[in-house]
């Protein structure tokens, strides 16, 4: 599997890193201090962000972004290979985030078998 599929990004859960491979997992590699700082960042995010309203305060978003960049740097310093994704800053609704799926082609594939 491609280790670059490991992402550090807010994902609404208790830990903001998606491990595609492992063990060892990212939290096994990094220092306890960095793990704690990431957890604090994630808990802050969970507290100040909701999926339907966004951040409750612009200052919260500012802190999240600044801390995110710092944590990205710290992760790299500790040898973690990962992909950044700060999707929460995208104000623009992405109507077509990926090339359009072709519904007819998709339907045809369904008809001839999965």
């Amino acid at each position: 599997m491609d280790s670059t599929l490991t992402t550090f990004s807010y994902n609404y859960s208790a830990w903001p890193i998606v491990d595609i491979e492992g063990p060892p997992y990212v939290e096994d590699i990094i220092s306890d201090q960095l793990e704690h700082e990431i957890t604090v960042w994630n808990e802050y995010f969970n507290h100040h962000f909701t999926y339907n309203y966004g951040f409750d305060d612009p200052s919260a978003q500012k802190w999240v972004n600044e801390e995110y960049q710092r944590l990205c740097q710290r992760l790299r310093e500790e040898g973690v290979s990962f992909r950044e994704d700060n999707w929460w800053n995208n104000d623009e609704f992405e109507v077509r985030p990926t090339p359009i799926d072709n519904p007819i082609k998709r339907l045809a594939k369904r008809l001839i078998g999965h």
Partner: protein, 210 residues
């Protein structure tokens, strides 16, 4: 900052046109077009707690770890519904399914922040990594999500009314009657409990609920 309801009338008016037009646009997304692998064996995924299979119950089904259960196979997402998501009808219902703790849960097209579009934008490549080209990533994702929320191994309710569900999923390759374990992972599914919508679902090697 949030993209509010942008189901503007002009969007709705071009919905049908957009769906038809999208059918004429050749996709250059290899992931979206992933075809079943040509293989002499049989790939499938199994959710032990739900006793469900994906994409279908394998021939001479026997659970890799226990006696077989009739189980159920994954259902397939409606291409037209996905087309509606493509053209921005973010309130469109993609699927709904029962959960263990939150009743019937809806997956809507959503936006980059939530729902099907969020999952596709942020986690499609990760789902693809586990589906390994067997069918569509989103059919696999939906099968996993609905199996997990109905038969979770664990769940956790946050103070902000989000519930995290997780359960193990295993993928196998069956050849010459022998099941070979390929991958074992624990997807995470997040549900908003106050309005019963699925916020996100992503695969991860280990459980990410608390």
């Amino acid at each position: 900052m949030k993209p509010s309801a942008k189901g503007n009338s002009w969007v709705r008016k071009v919905a049908v046109i957009g769906i038809v037009a999208s059918a004429l646009v050749p996709t250059n997304n290899a992931n979206a077009d992933s075809s079943p692998k040509a293989a002499t064996g049989e790939w499938y995924a199994y959710m032990p707690l739900a006793h469900t299979w994906y994409p279908k119950t394998p021939t001479n089904a026997s659970s890799p770890t226990a006696s077989p259960s009739p189980g159920s196979a994954g259902r397939l997402l409606d291409p037209i519904t996905i087309g509606a998501c493509d053209i921005g009808l973010h309130g469109t219902l993609v699927a709904s399914f029962l959960s263990k703790y939150d009743g019937r849960v809806s997956l809507k097209c959503g936006s980059t922040d939530v729902g099907y579009i969020h999952i596709r934008t942020k986690h499609q490549s990760q789902w693809d990594a586990f589906a390994a080209g067997n069918g569509y990533w989103d059919d696999f994702m939906l099968w996993s999500a609905e199996s997990i929320v109905l038969h979770p191994e664990s769940s956790h309710l946050d103070s902000d009314m989000k519930r995290c569900y997780t359960a193990p999923v295993k993928t196998y390759f069956k050849k010459d009657g022998i099941n070979h374990l390929l991958k074992s992972f624990s997807p995470t599914v997040i549900v908003s409990t106050n309005n019963r919508v699925m916020i996100t679902a992503y695969p991860s090697k280990t459980s990410r609920c608390r």
